[in-house]
Each structure stands twice: as structure tokens, then as C-alpha cells.
Amino acid sequence: MEHPLILQMQGITKVFPGVRALDDVTLKVRRGDIHAICGENGAGKSTLMKVLSGVYPHGTYEGQIIYNGSEIAFKNIKESEKAGIAIIHQELTMIPELSITENIFLGNEVVKHGLIDWDTARHLTVDLLLKVGLTIDPGTLIKHLGVGQQQLVEIAKALSKNVKLLILDEPTSALNEADSANLLNLMRELKKRDITCIMISHKLNEIAAISDAVTVIRDGRTVDTYDVEAGRVDEDRIIRAMVGRSIENRYPEHTSHPGEIIFEVSDWCVEDPQIAGRLVCKHSNFNVRAGEIVGFAGLMGAGRTELMRSIFGHNYGIYLGGTVKIKGKEVHMNSVASAIKHGLAYVPEDRKSLGLNLIDSIRTTIVSANLKAIKRGSLLDPDKEFQAADKYRHSLNIKTPNVDTGVNTLSGGNQQKVVLGKWMFTEPDVLILDEPTRGIDVGAKYEIYRLIHALADQGKAVILVSSELPELLGMADRIYTIFEGSISGELNCSEANQEKLMRVMTNTSVAESNQERAEL
Amino acid sequence: MKMKKQLSLLLATALVATVAMTGCGGRGTSETKETEAVTTTEETTTEETTTAEPEKGFAADATIGVSLPWLGTQNWKEADEMFKTQLEAAGFKAIVQAADNKVPQQQQQIESMIQNGVKVIVVGPVDGTQLGSVLEEAAAAGIAVIGYDRLLENTTGVDGVVQFGSVKTGELQGQALLDGLAKVKGEGPYNIELFGGGPADPNAPNFFKGAMSVLQPKIDDGTLVVVSGQTDFTQCATPDWDNSKAQARMDSLLSGFYSDKEIHGVLSPNDGIARAIITASEQAGQEIPVVSGLDAENESVQWVWSGRQYSTVAKPTDALVSKTIEIIKSLQAGNGMPAPDTNVNNGKKDVGVFELPPVVVTKENAKEIFANDPGRLDLLK
């Protein structure tokens, strides 16, 4: 008996230490549909898919998954693959030094008499490639393929495993227009072969173009799910669902008193360190006043972090041109050390891999960016170190009995406070905060917001990069939006709302014209 | 709390034990030292002024230390066993250790022997020049030091050396090569190559010198042609006596100089290297050259018997070990060092050297020479 629903996920709850990533999520997917899942960054979409595909094994989450009419409990990806569920990740997972054939059959080799039967594998590969519309030599190394082609090979790999349910996690985020169109066509083809697709995407135009149903997830909950009438998606409804939470009382009251412009970046250009000729920052201009909180909005990969890190002592990419003025004076910051000396501080987006040395204690972390301040003579003074660390432990309300605690034992919120303390200890004029509240629970978020306000009140210029639009709207005085490396808009907070922001961030027509401008 | 108690108990026991034992240990050693000191303190003073010659002897069941460089070749393995059995047969206690060809390890072994209160240390050095301070320490502790098979250089802490005359050995090797060439390869001139031993072993240059004293006149008059032109010891030396390095050098000599020539003979400083040379020659498609050797290792004895290796030189390990034990017995009885065959300056002092004659072994005389060595005689079948 064919069940009309291929997949039913009910009451899925997944808790990470300190964070409830999924909270009672429900997802129903009809057989043969293309089902879109949308939501803000960090809303829990990818987590949900990881639960489905067995990356998080059965038992580490609560809830029930019914697939093809029966309840399933995958222990690992291998099992979900066997059941016909394949996931195409945002980051491609193929091995660049191996050929297409080798990649497609990696871990699933065609074996005859104990040896790999490469001839058969090659023939099968050619067939699979045809199915995804590729006519290239299966012996080609992956590294010689474009991103779009690699994506198609990934799908071919999934097809080789006789996939029934294909999950694509932001499949077009790295693709150009032509490749994206190509991919969408392929998804329609797959639909004809009775393969169900779940597509995670923020691109509303794509969702409108191909999906049969949409589920919106926000803050780990399903907030809306409905069918799409052929080719017509109510974009407003999706946007409202994606961002529509009440923002009252989430952000502390604050009136800012912006002063002079103390930080000014003009004509900033940076080249991608990996891909020669690709600009990750295109002639960016912006400024920040003393005591002002300026937000930076943009989709993932738009180039916000890249911009900030390149300004912060050329820590990222290859500097091509542009100037930075601090308090009206042009400064050159060729290294992070010089940036710190000029009064800049940067709290990185990825706390664990960039912000902290996880094997360190709170005490050593807090002073680590300004060791000069705890020197006495030519030696570091442990007493001064203790005093400094203890001061921030109190003033930032870091919840730990003493400063010798290892930072790895702290919760995300407290870790972030340690990072903030570390940068406050350098006594900066300009603070760049890159996603300062990511992965932090609501209570700690509120404390960090208060800290940001306090910093602004001390006359510091604060740059707040965030993917959470309400946060930007609630905190910033002014917001710049970035699209594909260019600053695509500037809004005063009073005139901005989430819908407006989302449009500037995603509206391809604006973006295209920007891109053209940048290329001229 | 239980844990606290356990821990404090543990710590306390440890501390008490440490103090107690060290107390005992310390006093213990000083006591033993006192009793021994009767014999040793006086010696120490005499040793420091003159050469170290314990004159009062020591207990007949005293411990004797033997430090060998390694057990990687047959002669050292034999020495290891013979020292153990023969020292014990003579009523001594024996500590026989090998140093894996590492100088620091040998230094530490000698120190631990001193620690163990040995009366005599027999040293087959890894590097005869690098034991200076530990041997002087031994001398200062009243221990007699006997060099075994190799000279102990650059130190005052040595009382005598037992070895086969190394220059003599070299002469024999050179002569055997000449004889073999005349016998096996017909009329000259002969194409030959030269190999030396490990440069860190003070014997190696002497072997080479001895051999060259025989070969050089023949090279000068054109009977022998060293095709590669490599006749300097440093060019011919085989680091660490390593067979594989010798084989690699032979391979490159053969491919570099003998693609259109025949090689007639090779001077080899020992058996392992000789076999490496023969193997390399066979692999290069050459007729087996006349190759000399040393040590009469089992495999080479067989090869000599079957005609693959022309000759080897036997330095009968038992003779060397017996001579060493003879000296130890003389020291034990309080008769001091026997009169040496010759004196050699080791850089710091003149050392008495007891030289034993080596013997050339060829297919013709093998049965005769090994008549008293059932193990090797067995191989001649």
C-alpha cells in the first residue's frame, strides 16, 4: 500500500548543551514532492536534516520519524542511505584528488572477487552522469570541475545509492545563475522519476519556482507549513513567518548618543585568498560614529566576516586597496597586532575555532590580547593578571567560581563573555562584534546586549554583524546590508523593518545591478 | 574522609620509605665502601699518580663487568656468551652488557657497573675515544679497566688492552688478497677495489694501513689497478661497519666503473662487508672477485668452503676472551698487570697492549684451523 506521505517527522526535539536547537518540530513530506524548508540562519533547518539522515543517531533526539509508512531509528548515515535517504551538504564533501568514478563509489565500491571492478564502475558512472545531465569523462578529477558540476556529481552519487528521498542543503548558495537554473531543472527531472526532494533554501525566488510545499522553521520550531499553488508563492507570508517573532523586551531599552565619525572605511577591496581574481569585498564604504552601534546584515557568504577580518589587520584575504581612518587620521594596519594598537577589536564569529584557545583558562584568555598591560619589568605579573581577569569575571558576570577555570567548561554565553572581556581589556575605540550571540541562550543574549549598550555609552564605536534581523533592528542605530561582497544598502533603524531588510539582502534585482556596478 | 587517609598514608609510606631506604642505602654503601676502601683508597691514590695497577688483588668471587659495543656480529655475540660462561667458570660474578652501538648507552652501562661495585671492567668500546670521563671515574673508584679488541683512546683510565694486532691483521688481509688473485685470476694486472671498516673504530684505519702496506707497492708497480681511484681510507670507509652501506658503495662502484671491465679482487675489512661485496658483484653479473674478510663468521666460513669468498681472517674470540680472563685472574691474585707485548700511546698515556696473532683462513687450511672448533668444523661439509 503506497502511503501518500513518504516522511513524517513528529515532535522532534534536539538539545545541545545550553541550546535547544529543535523544539517539537513537525515535518510532513508527500511522495514525489519538492518540499522547501526555510528559516533564518541557525533556525534549526540543518539540524533537522541531520536528525533525519542519522548524523545524530536515534536516541540523541526525542520524537518520532515515520518513513515509508514505518518508524525508523537510524544509527548512522550508512543506515539512512540504505533506506534511500541521501543528503547533499552545503559544503561539498567530495575528495578533490580523486576522479568522479572514485568519488561516486567511495565507500560503496563495485567489488568483484575481492577487487574493485573499475570497468563496471566507470560504465555505471557514465549512466549516472547522463541522468544528471553531465557528459564528461568519469575519470576527471573532482578538483577540475566547477562548483556546479561538483554539485551534480554529488547528486549522481546519491542516485547511485538508489535514493528515494534527496535532501539538498542550500544547494544553490555557491552556484551562479546558470548553474542554479540547471540544478532546478534537474530537480524537476528527479521529480518525474518519483524521487522526493527536500530543499533547504532562503532564496524565495527558487522556492517559488519549483516547490510544491513549504515549511518554515524558526528558533527550532515549525511555525508555518502550507502547499504552494503552482508557481505562486506568497513571499510575504514566508518572510513574516521566518522573522515574525515578537521583539518586545528581547532587547534592553537604550538611547544612543552618536558623536563624531571615528571610524571610516573607504573603497575597501579584498581578493579571495583561494580563488585569484574573485573579490570578496568590492569597494566597500562605511563609517561608524563614536557611541554608535552599526549593524551589518547579509546572507551567509555575503562577505560580512571577510570584510571585517580584512580590515582587522589584513587577517583574511589579499588586500587590494582602500583606506581606513580612525578619528580622522588614516592608519595602516598590516597585522593584527597593529590593528589592536590602533584601537580595533574583533570578536570573531566562530567562537570555538577563532575566538578562544579552548585549553586555556579564563585568566590567561582575558589578558591574551594585551599582555603588555600585565607586565612588570620584562616579566608577566601573575597578580596583575589575576586582578584583570577577576575584574572582568565580576563586571561581565561570568558564572564561574574562579578565573583558573578552563574556558572549555563554560557555557556558550559565558565563553562569549570571556571573549568580550578579552577585547575590552585591550581598551579599544572600535569594537567589531561578529555574530556575538550565536549559539547563546536568551538570558545570556540579553546580558551581552546590555554590555554592547554599555560599550556604546562609553563612546566606543560598535559594529554588530548579525544574521538575526530582529537583533539588528533591536540593537543597531544604523544598518548596512551586504550582498555578494558589496554594500547594497544603508538604512536607519527608524525606517527599517525586517521585511525591508530581507528584501535588500535577498532581492536579486538590486544585487544584480550592484554586481554590474562593481564589475564596471 | 577515606580518600584523604588513603592518600596521606600512601604519601607518608612513600616518604618514610624514601628516607629509611636512602638512609640505609647511603649508609650501606658507605659501609661497604669502608670495607672495600681498605683495598681501594690506596689504589686510588697510586692510580692517580702512576698507572692503575691494583696490587693487592680482590676477592675471588668479585664481580667483573664486561661492556660490549653491540651483539650485531657473530664475534661479539660469541664474546658475550664466552665471557659469561668463562668468568663464571673462573669463580667470578659477571655483568655482561651490550650498548646497541650507542656511545651514551655504553657510558651509562659502565657507570652502572661502577655502581654495582665491579672490580674490573672489560670494555669493547663503541667509540674508543668517547669514554674518557666514565673510565676515569672507574679508575678513581679503584677499578681496573681493560680494553677488549679495540684501543681505548684519549683517557688515562685504562690499564691495558687485549686485541689482535690490527696492523698485522690488515697485512694478512692484504697478503691473502694478493695470493688469491695470483691463484684464482691468473696473470695480472688485476682490477681491484678497497673497502675500509667503520671509521669510529680505532682498529679500522689500522687494518687498512696494514693491508695497504702490502698492496701499495703492487699498485705502484701496476700489478694492481684501483679502477675507481679511491685509495684513501676516508673514501673507502664503511660507516658503522654497516654491510648495507658497503653493498650500496659496491653497487655504485660496479655500475660506475665496471660496466665494460671485470673486477678481480676486493679488499674487505670483515666478513659481513665481504658478503655484501660478493652479493653486489653477483647481482651486477660479474664473476665473483677474490675477496678478503675477517672474523670467520659462520656464513663466511661456509662461503670460503664453497669458494665464493676467497679468505677470511680468524681472530679466535675464545683466545681473546681467555687472554682477558687470564689478566683478570692475575689482577685478582694481586699480581698486577702482566707484562704487555707492546706499549701504545693513546693520546693521554702509554697503554700496555697484549697482542694476539690472527690467522688467515682459506679453503685449503680451514679444516686444520677449526680442528678444535666443532661449531665451525660442522660447517665445512
Binding site: 579552548l358 620584562s378 | 636512602t22
Partner: protein
């Protein structure tokens, strides 16, 4: 438990290896019939292992930054050989030869540092190359023959401190003086720390743990003073040991109390985070590699002094001994963790094992096997600890839960 913690301070885990070391010494003293704990054996332990421990100091820093240096043995051999050669063939006085040798070490370090820091070649590869280059260099310049070293150097490698002053002390007075200085320094340090902690935190530590610490540590120092000072007349705390102690103090301060030291740990713990905190990662790599080769040269000099001659195969395998010491001392393979003091304890564990097994007459073959097993066990213990929330060995032997259950039954506890 609480009281002991108060005396020793902080985590007990850091004392695991010290306790293991003490246990080893005691066990060997019993099995070797009292030959382990004697003045001359302790002097030998230091003289015979000082050069490896000097290497281990540098190796610790290299491992903390997440690199490895395989060339230290070769660099040590090369610098030692250069020293012997310039003294013999060019007639340099011994002190100038030493300076030349140390300069060679610095140049070798700059060479390695250049490849690692500027060109980003992994340390493993760079120093594998260096190992071959400098080993070849030794054999080349020495023509593979040992070269006698200036006799003055023997003092550095196997010398003793002078004898002076009154005889009634019954021991070497230089050693006695060192011991008194050490105890005085410790007492002063403890009292000062107590005062400053009181000032900082406002809570005054009671006097008794301080006294207990002083008695414990002072007793240990006094014991060692006695052991080293009462050897054969003319012997004392050995000079190479003194060099080592001075280096340990210097490098302990460098790693714990200087900006450079902090940078080493920061780079090793998280290179990207360190870079974003203003640490010059390249510079840190460069100077760590430079320092390693400098210490290698120093180790080479000490060894040549002890051996009285420089040999072509000096230094072979030393890098592995140094690396083993560092890991037994609890450093992390992934970098960022490890201290100079623990490394010294790790090195001494190896040294005591070596010495004890030799005293027992165990052959080199089985000694190697045992050392290999100890290395594995020590690192496995560390890894296990990390995976299970850093329980100390004491915690592992006497689990907390159990001790709570059987509270009030001290009889049981003695049996364990």
C-alpha cells in the same frame, strides 16, 4: 583529600608523574640492593642525562607550538664536532670553540625556523631534512673519525663543583650552599606568595599548609643536598646538573612569565585564535625552532665534554629520547599543553628506568621494550584522563564515589 589539596595546591594530577618517579626510585633501590639511592648513582643520573634533558626543554616548546624537531640529535652532533675541530685544527681556545659551536646552533636553528615559519613547511619535513643535512655534515667534516675535545670541557660534561670551607660539615660545601640557597628561596617564595594572595583575594591562607609545604619541599631539597654532597671526596652536585637546573629555571620563567611564552601556548592551542589576538605566529615558530637548535648545540657541547671527544655518530636517536621525555611529561601531541617542569620529570622517569634496569643487569634489549611500554602507558593514561574528565591517577585508584560509600571504614582503605 582536601588537606592534601590545600598543601599541594590545585590539581593533584600534576603530581602523578612525580609520585611515579619517586615510586620507581624506591622500587629500584630495593631490587638493586640499595644501589639506586647512592650519591654516585644520582650524580651519574644527572651527568649522564643532562644533555637529553636540555634537549627536552627545547623540544617541549617545539611540541607545544604543535611542531616536532627531528634534527636535534644531528644538530647537537654537528655543533659538538665543529667545536672539537676548531679547537684541534684551528687552535681556538676552548671558550671560543664553545661560542663557535653555539653560533652554529643558532644558525642551524635560523635555517630550520626559516623553512617552518616563512615558507610554512611542516616542522616534521623541515627537520627530517635537517636531520639528514646535519648528520651528513658531521660525517663530512669529521671524515667519520672521532675528534678529541679540549680537556677544559670535561668540566661541563662531567665536572664537579669545588671543595672549600670547613670540613666539619661532612659534605661538599658547594653542594651544601646550593641546597641552602634553594631552601631559602623556596621559603621566601612561599611566604611572599601567601602575602600576595592575601592582598589579592582578601582571604588569608592558614599558616599550616604553608608550613607543611615548606617542610615537605625543604625536606626533599635537604635530602638531595645530602645525597649529592656526601659522595666520594671531590664530587658534588654535578656541573651538568647545575647547568640543567639553571636552564630549567630560565626556561620555566620564559614559558610561564613572558609574552613569548604565552605566545607559544596560544599558537599551539589555537593558531587562528592566537593570530586574531595579535600574536605573530610566524615569529613564534621561528624563535621556537631557533631556540631548539641553540639548546641542541649546548647539549652537544655537554655530551662532548663528558665523552672527552666528539664522534661522528653523536646525537643519533637523541631526538627520540627528548620527544619521549616531553610526552611522558604530559605534553599533548596536538600542541598547546605541557610544562618544562613536567618534561623534566618525564625525562627523569626515563633516566631512572634506564639506570635502574642497568643496575639490575637487565639487557639493553629488554630495557628498550620496557621504555616503550612506559611511554605508551604514560600517554595512554593522559589520553584516558582527557576523555574522562581529567581524573587523577589517585582519583582512578580511589574513585570518589566509592570513598563516599565506605566512609568511616578506614580499615578498608589501608588495604588498598
Amino acid at each position: 583529600m582536601k588537606y592534601i589539596k590545600q598543601v599541594l595546591g590545585g590539581e593533584l594530577r600534576q603530581y602523578t608523574m612525580v609520585i611515579a618517579l619517586a615510586a620507581l626510585i624506591i622500587i629500584f633501590n630495593i631490587t638493586s640492593g640499595g644501589r639506586m639511592i647512592t650519591p654516585s648513582n644520582f650524580q651519574n643520573l644527572l651527568s649522564g642525562n643532562a644533555y637529553v634533558l636540555v634537549l627536552a626543554i627545547g623540544m617541549l616548546m617545539v611540541i607545544v607550538i604543535g611542531q616536532i624537531d627531528l634534527a636535534v640529535g644531528s644538530v647537537a652532533g654537528f655543533s659538538g664536532m665543529v667545536m672539537a675541530l676548531v679547537a684541534r685544527d684551528l687552535g681556538f681556545p676552548w671558550w671560543l670553540a664553545v661560542i663557535v659551536s653555539l653560533t652554529i646552533g643558532l644558525l642551524a636553528g635560523a635555517w630550520q625556523g626559516f623553512w617552518v615559519a616563512k615558507l610554512g613547511i611542516p616542522g616534521f619535513i623541515t627537520t627530517l631534512g635537517g636531520m639528514m643535512i646535519f648528520r651528513g655534515g658531521v660525517i663530512w667534516i669529521s671524515k667519520s673519525i672521532s675528534v678529541p675535545a679540549p680537556t677544559e670541557l670535561k668540566w661541563f660534561g662531567a665536572g664537579y663543583l669545588p671543595e672549600w670551607g670547613p670540613v666539619f660539615t661532612g659534605m661538599n660545601n658547594s653542594t651544601l650552599l646550593l641546597g641552602i640557597i634553594a631552601i631559602a628561596a623556596y621559603v621566601y617564595g612561599q611566604l611572599r606568595r601567601r602575602k600576595r594572595t592575601a592582598k589579592l583575594t582578601g582571604t588569608t591562607e592558614p599558616f599550616w599548609p604553608v608550613i607543611a609545604r615548606i617542610i615537605l619541599v625543604g625536606g626533599i631539597i635537604a635530602f638531595f643536598t645530602w645525597i649529592f654532597g656526601t659522595g666520594r671526596p671531590g664530587t658534588s652536585f654535578p656541573v651538568p646538573g647545575l647547568i640543567l637546573v639553571i636552564l630549567v629555571i630560565i626556561y620555566h620563567i620564559i614559558t610561564e612569565r613572558t609574552q613569548f611564552g604565552r605566545h607559544i601556548y596560544a599558537v599551539g592551542g589555537n593558531k587562528s585564535a592566537a593570530a586574531l589576538s595579535g600574536v605573530n605566529v610566524q615569529k613564534t615558530y621561528f624563535f621556537t625552532m631557533l631556540n631548539m637548535s641553540f639548546l641542541a648545540a649546548l647539549a652537544g657541547i655537554m655530551f662532548v665534554g663528558r665523552s672527552t671527544a666528539a664522534g661522528p655518530s653523536d646525537g643519533t636517536g637523541w631526538e627520540l629520547d627528548a620527544i619521549a621525555s616531553v610526552f611522558i611529561g604530559g605534553a599533548a601531541v596536538s600542541g598547546g599543553i605541557g610544562t618544562v617542569l613536567n618534561t623534566m620529570v618525564g625525562g627523569m622517569v626515563m633516566a631512572v628506568l634506564n639506570s635502574g634496569l642497568m643496575l639490575m643487569g637487565v639487557g639493553a634489549d629488554r630495557t628498550q621494550v620496557i621504555k616503550g611500554l612506559v611511554l605508551l602507558a604514560a600517554v595512554a593514561f593522559d589520553v584516558y584522563n582527557k576523555a574522562h574528565g581529567r581524573r587523577s591517577i589517585i582519583g582512578a585508584i580511589f574513585p570518589e564515589k566509592e570513598s563516599k560509600q565506605s566512609e568511616g571504614k578506614p580499615a578498608d582503605s589501608r588495604e588498598k
